[in-house]
Symmetry: C2
Subunit: 278 residues, 2 copies
Amino acid sequence: MVKSPSLDDYRVPFFTDKRTAKFALDAIDASAKPFTTGSKTSDRDRLAVIGAKIDVQQERLHAQHHRRVLLVLQGMDTSGKDGTIRGVFQDVDPLGLRIVAFRAPTPIESARDFLWRVHMQVPSAGELAIFNRSHYEDVLVPRVIGQIDQAEWERRYRQIREFEAMLSECGTTIIKCMLHISKDEQRNRIQARIDDPTKHWKFDLSDLEARNRWDAYQAAYRDVLAATSTEYAPWYVIPANSKSHRNVMVAELLLRALENLKLEFPPAKEELNGLKID
Amino acid sequence: MVKSPSLDDYRVPFFTDKRTAKFALDAIDASAKPFTTGSKTSDRDRLAVIGAKIDVQQERLHAQHHRRVLLVLQGMDTSGKDGTIRGVFQDVDPLGLRIVAFRAPTPIESARDFLWRVHMQVPSAGELAIFNRSHYEDVLVPRVIGQIDQAEWERRYRQIREFEAMLSECGTTIIKCMLHISKDEQRNRIQARIDDPTKHWKFDLSDLEARNRWDAYQAAYRDVLAATSTEYAPWYVIPANSKSHRNVMVAELLLRALENLKLEFPPAKEELNGLKID
């Protein structure tokens, strides 16, 4: 009997103080499509169904004005962070979303701790916020380019765990997705951008620097995921060579998290019962 | 021969120093549907076509990273500000939108000038921002409830004109839509919310206070529109008793404004021509 895949098969094992090294990012096949039928058309149909359900949940979240939901998207260049947002949320009311893109820190941001700009953007009551990149950049880029040493990145891992624990304790549901593509797939996607002059604006030669350090980034990702996947803020690795698989899987994860909140509309107001408006 | 309707027939005459009183909000029929066929299905199809075109324009706006676009939505309770955002932008990439809802000012906001919180939320280069309510609340509510006198609201009109002129000069295209419903239509919509207990969260008995001062609000709107419709930030009155008409008309206005910007993708980068990625 074949076991059907579970979303939790792709959840990074939770961090413990005696961290074991059993999580291997490179053992996860970026081309896998465990959560789709393999047909683009039926994936799109399925995505529309999940999207409509997310929309229903999001309206309740907004109506209740209590819980907050944060979806963090990370991944190498061209891994599809923008495309995921577009794909997953095309059937969700834009009013209920706040999308925050974190770019290279500005001088004002760099002059504060690395969580400062992130804290300012956390979702408020009833809000669903999506981070397109996040505080996780600050334990990836500076490590790979040698700006921080191991003591510093380990300290940041702890600071991130404590920050996310606080957010969770204060009512925020956190889901973190690492969009996992292969180096070959990235080559194809970058090449496609280069071959289409209307897409040159999306690409800069300096973007190749990260590609040239692919292995170092993968190693940094592995450590970050292992050190910051927690019960209150789990990481999921999303096989993302297939765009439709990626979208379906992220949508399923988000829907499951929302449904687990058992959101209901606020109770009816007695003073409105039977009221007739002039 | 019947003249076909033009969007500019619904543009509020531009403010001049010797303001004439020729603009009459109450002469505009909230039930009119000049920009639709009258069939909901064909309105929806048309909206999808316009939405797809807005999406194309928005991608160029983002790619160019230069111009900024601001859509301001105002209207009485239940006039459909939320519904307009959902309807007009359902085919537009949520990544390209920033929706800002202005509610009753917080103590921190009230402690500053009324444009402070608004200035913080203006669209940045390449961004399309939608204000769901705006600084215009500050020349409506405080006037109707008697918190400010005519000298103060006239001063605010001028401050708004000057602020919007500055935004325009610095690269922001501003479109302002007043969603115009009739008092009867508002009754029906409020009654529908009251009759559906799952919608009670959208409604509070205190919301009826504004309805009870309907005429005062209409008069305040009339003055505001006349005093702040300018070439650089025109006001349009949107007949909004029909939701599908409202959506089509707002979408048409936004699309026209975007097309007038003649947005193109940035030029291809020479250094990428013929480049092959390893």
